[in-house]
Symmetry: C2
Subunit: 367 residues, 2 copies
């Protein structure tokens, strides 16, 4: 095999392919990027057996062929090369030579035959969505997936398509995050759970521009994301997702409108006294025109008054400050509305159109 | 005690004082910053028993007094406050209240009586130097102090004053770094070894502007650095420093002029194959108009040709690539000159005026 590409193109494509290279694995071949130049085009392919990426590299194939190279080493070499055209050559013994200006790197590759190629997946209906929107709805919900593998379904996000509506839902047992958008067309109904790892890698690959489109294909076992030049194939998490709609209520006794940034900064200050894994709640005391926010800990205490617009009953309620902050950070509006019933029932933060809904369970506290 | 300062001033002064707060200590009082407002001025004082800092805070003392507050907690609170005026109050039970807008923090302080105040040091002769120059000469040499405490003298840098000359020297057994500057006046001769920790903190406190001056006072046991608003007092390392001048020779068999940046990038690429603590040398083969630089390792190999201007014999010599890179990074010139004798003798990188001298011992290698 002999290919020739610019260093810039190599860096761009290696960065994409690296997203599906596992950090730790018992199969050394999975630590490789496959350079596949059998058909004229140059592809970089990576696969951690759950997530697979195939990205096209702009360049010239002088001799077709394939070679697998250690991804980390290859990426470091490419990064440190002079900024010029790079030639990559492999011979029948899988020796790889990388040439750029007067620099010559030699390293051992592995046969492309040993590589775990991506599964062939049938692509019927293409769901069209802008990369910007896809990235937003993932980043606005992914913080509330569970990091704990005990319940696999909680480590992913529900993608639910009904007509021209897409809902993305995550939950971790303490809170639920929901984003809802309207698609440009109507599609077949579908409900699949996509691994959180896949979604966080997809976010990093996408440009985030409104004009750049992405395509989504859903099959019984896989989801495919098509971004110009790059295809990402991921296994789905099997099982029936939680009946989230039953957990959501529109009743409330107290409705509060508050400036999002002021509330966020105030909770951020309060968390100074909260150590990691410490369950110290922040206490929100909603009175007539005032929210009195306070936290007490052996290290010290903090109190602050915030102006609010309130309807309904006064209420004192405690929360894990991080859960409130995560939701407030995900919302992109000046003011937010909190709906609460009592100190034992969940708080809902949502807009009128239900484009976002954040449910947060309160915590017990003693005064 | 009651003082009032802007948050910006507090942040600036806390950042300076934090530099002498030890990360780990058996004496909790050392983890504190002392707020000293007994005399009208507000001082933040910190002391890790080797290094002490006293910095003046712009603000108003409403009630004189002192209080010691946990440095880390205090710094985090100040950082998270709204950007406005801050009032700090302490009572007779050492309770500290920090007020800013509608935020009120409460935490427990400690008596100022328990604090280890800075030693009184006699300040006779003030050596005047620009902060820019002081920072440069430290940063251009500090990388070759030893991290190993076995030989205390190697963990510091020699400050040697003779007439209007200041030399700063560091060495770690494999290399020596020397910077020499001319001062504006003549001063008494002095030779003291300043702890590396002190110097790296001093670098971070200084502005690095040419017009901002610093004063240095040397006493038998201490060195004092005076920067406007801040005084840093450090113990010196006791003992007689190495006879560095005996290790330096001006004889050579091979003299090479090479572009600094090209050589640096090339060695940087070669280090891809060098893992931490791996003693793999980079081999420099100086031929007529060419330096052939190469490295071999079980992971792969790299070769590169670099154009040089050479006088004297051809030579093949091996080096720890990091030592070469450290010296090349510290030099601020387009071309550097290397002086070598043979593959067993040190290489010198120096300018004509001897404003810098870097000695690097070669490493054995097998071909």
């Amino acid at each position: 095999m002999k290919i020739c590409c610019s260093r810039q193109e190599l860096i761009k494509s290696v960065n994409i392919a690296l997203r599906a290279v596992p950090v730790r694995t018992t199969m050394p071949i999975l630590e490789c990027i496959l350079i596949d130049a059998r058909q004229g085009d140059i592809h970089f392919i990576s696969n951690d057996m759950e997530l697979g990426i195939d990205t096209v590299v702009n360049g010239v194939t002088e001799e077709p062929g394939t070679i697998a190279v250690n991804a980390k080493m290859f990426s470091e070499i490419v990064r440190k090369l002079p900024d010029n055209m790079v030639t990559i050559i492999s011979d029948e013994n899988f020796n790889v030579t990388i040439l750029c200006e007067k620099t010559r790197f030699a390293l051992a590759g592995q046969s492309g035959e040993e590589f775990a190629y991506l599964p062939e997946v049938e692509r019927d209906e293409r769901i069209e969505i802008s990369q910007y929107t896809l990235r937003e709805i993932i980043s606005d919900t992914i913080f509330s997936i569970s990091q704990n593998e005990n319940n696999r379904l909680m480590t992913g996000e529900l993608f639910e398509i009904g007509g021209d509506r897409l809902r993305v839902i995550s939950l971790d047992g303490h809170r639920i995050s929901i984003r809802r958008i309207t698609l440009k067309e109507f599609y077949s109904d579908a409900k699949v759970v996509v691994p959180g790892k896949t979604l966080s890698e997809i976010m990093k690959i996408m440009t985030g521009e409104t004009d750049d489109m992405a395509g989504i294909y859903i099959t019984p076992g896989h989801i495919v994301f098509e971004i110009p030049g790059t295809t990402v194939i991921s296994r789905l998490i099997e099982g029936t997702y939680f009946a989230v709609d039953q957990m959501i209520s529109s009743d409330y006794e107290t409705k509060v409108v508050v400036n999002r940034q002021i509330l966020l900064s105030c909770i951020d200050r309060a968390t100074l006294f909260v150590k990691e894994n410490d369950k110290k709640p922040v206490i929100l005391d909603f009175q007539e025109k005032d929210l009195k926010l306070s936290i007490d800990s052996p290290l010290g205490s903090m109190k602050e008054d915030i102006y609010i617009d309130k309807e309904g009953r006064d209420l004192m309620i405690g929360f894990n400050p991080r859960f409130l902050m995560d939701a407030l950070k995900a919302i992109d509006e000046e003011n937010v509305t909190l709906y609460m019933t009592n100190a034992k029932s969940p708080c809902f933060i949502r807009d009128e159109a239900l484009s976002y809904t954040y449910l947060i369970l309160p915590v017990n506290f003693t005064r």
